[in-house]
């Protein structure tokens, strides 16, 4: 079996032009590989660059150097060098990302936010909504909330909407940034089950889990992200 995601020599830093052009590196030469069905937890202290690594793989941050290869439509494509259209295509078909916070869209109900990835893959509206509703129900989001925009939801409710959106359509690679930060025990158990089912279906998962109990339940191994020594 060959990996679905290979990160090679990834470097990422930020230059703040408004702060006098100060530059600071965050990642230097990160490398890792994920096999289908494998769950790797990023480990390291706060500020080490775990979220930055995840965001680079998601395409949300541009890579400074290195390659991020992902198996898409049968070929390994380099996300670090992909143009905007290819990144969108990979996000639609291959790569899921559950960010830490749901970005709410005015007036769009929770159900439609969750159904969107299915619609983007060509599912019919009725089927997409039915699957979205079933998943939201499994995550214990009351049905009366399905038809409301999540702007007024609690943190935990928004996170469950975000999780449902990430798990509703199968992905070859799924990125999870603190998926259970504001969930109670019952919902953490649902998330653990969703992760195990996705793994069984072949999804490779790269995640940040501060919840060590969840991490021990789902992660096959850890990948350490170490803070860089400040340049002398």
């Amino acid at each position: 079996m060959s990996p679905v995601l290979v990160v090679e020599g990834l470097c990422k830093g930020f230059t703040l032009h408004l702060q006098g052009g100060v530059s600071f590196p965050v990642l230097r030469g990160e490398s890792l590989a994920l096999m289908p069905g494998e769950c790797v937890a990023l480990a390291g202290p706060s500020g080490a660059g775990k979220s930055t690594l995840l965001r680079c793989v998601a395409g949300n941050y541009g890579a400074g150097a290195g390659r991020i290869l992902i198996r898409h439509r049968g070929a390994m494509r380099d996300l670090a060098a992909a143009d905007a259209r290819l990144v969108r295509e990979i996000r639609t078909e291959t790569l899921g990302h559950v960010s830490q916070f749901l970005r709410v869209i005015p007036r769009v109900p929770a159900l439609d936010i969750v159904a969107a990835p299915l619609l983007a893959r060509g599912a019919g509206r009725a089927e997409a909504r039915a699957r979205a509703a079933a998943l939201l129900a499994r995550l214990n989001l009351p049905e009366r909330l399905h038809h409301l925009p999540p702007a007024t939801f609690s943190g935990g409710e928004q996170q469950r909407v975000n999780l449902a959106r990430g798990f509703v359509a199968p992905n070859a690679v799924l990125l999870l940034d603190e998926p259970t930060a504001s969930l109670d025990a019952a919902n953490r158990a649902v998330v653990a089950a969703l992760i195990r089912e996705a793994k069984a279906a072949g999804t490779a998962i790269l995640g940040i889990f501060h919840d060590s109990e969840l991490r021990d339940r789902v992660a096959d191994r850890l990948h350490a992200v170490d803070p860089l020594e400040p340049a002398a």
Partner: protein, 256 residues
């Protein structure tokens, strides 16, 4: 697949001012591209040059029609350009008065575009006008009212209905929410977002509203002093801006 619209090396000067300084840009089918920048950055000039309204001094704009045939927008005769603008393109102006005929009814404003595209059956045209009024959340019972009796937000929605009724492949939008109250803006943006997604439209959106660009666009192009200083995936340009000017734009947005 090929780009719908492809511009290369567009240059346009007003006296000593360079409105466009060697701008190249491609827009693909189904893609929403937002051009952002401050007043005077050249973004409106770019929209005018791309849609054939302003002739650049250098560079060219290619448009590919549904059959895949490419034409040079600035080599077309005025009649040919108008024909494409009628059949394939839509234009949403910042001021609805520039896109509507204020002296005829709401229904006629929508129906007129259909008739220009060849529709002749009166009942069918009126039914389509009523249907489109409902789609843009206007009360179809007001089909015979004049646009001047509508609020600014309603006029803007009517303009969008008039623009989309003929199912254009490419829509140019120039600050579509400019001049509207914030509450009205949000509704209009959401309506545009839903329609664009549903119809699979390609859109070139000129705006100084970063939040609108994030909501609507797949890709963002940042312009300054007639040049593109940065472009890319919408969320990446906004979350990981590289150019000092983009960082300034992003940092200047107040988070609500």
């Amino acid at each position: 697949m090929s780009p719908l619209l492809e511009a290369e090396g567009l240059t346009l000067r007003f006296g000593a001012l360079r409105a466009l300084d060697g701008v190249s840009l491609a827009l693909w089918p189904g893609e929403v591209v937002a051009v952002v920048g401050e007043s005077g950055s050249g973004k409106s000039s770019l929209l005018r040059a791309l849609s054939g309204l302003a002739r650049p001094e250098a560079g060219r704009v290619l448009y590919r029609d549904a059959a895949g045939a490419a034409c040079d927008v600035h080599a077309l005769s005025e009649a040919e350009r108008r024909r494409i603008a009628r059949s394939d393109w839509g234009h949403v102006h910042q001021n609805p008065r520039d896109g509507l005929r204020m002296g005829v009814s709401a229904g006629a404003n929508i129906g007129e575009r259909l008739m220009a595209a060849g529709a002749r059956h009166y009942g069918g045209i009126r039914a389509a006008a009523a249907e489109w009024m409902a789609r843009v959340e206007l009360d179809p019972a007001r089909i015979d009212d004049l646009p001047r009796h509508f609020s600014g937000g309603m006029q803007q929605r009517l303009q969008i209905a008039r623009c989309l009724v003929t199912r254009p492949r490419l829509v140019f939008m120039d600050e579509p929410t400019g001049g509207l109250d914030v509450s009205v803006q949000a509704r209009l943006l959401d309506l545009i977002r839903a329609l664009v997604e549903e119809l699979g439209l390609a859109v070139l959106l000129v705006t100084h509203d970063i939040a609108a660009a994030r909501l609507l666009a797949h890709r963002i192009v940042v312009m300054r002093q007639g040049r593109i200083v940065e472009e890319g995936l919408a969320d990446r340009v906004l979350d990981d801006p590289q150019h000092p000017y983009t960082q300034l734009l992003v940092a200047s947005v107040l988070a609500a």
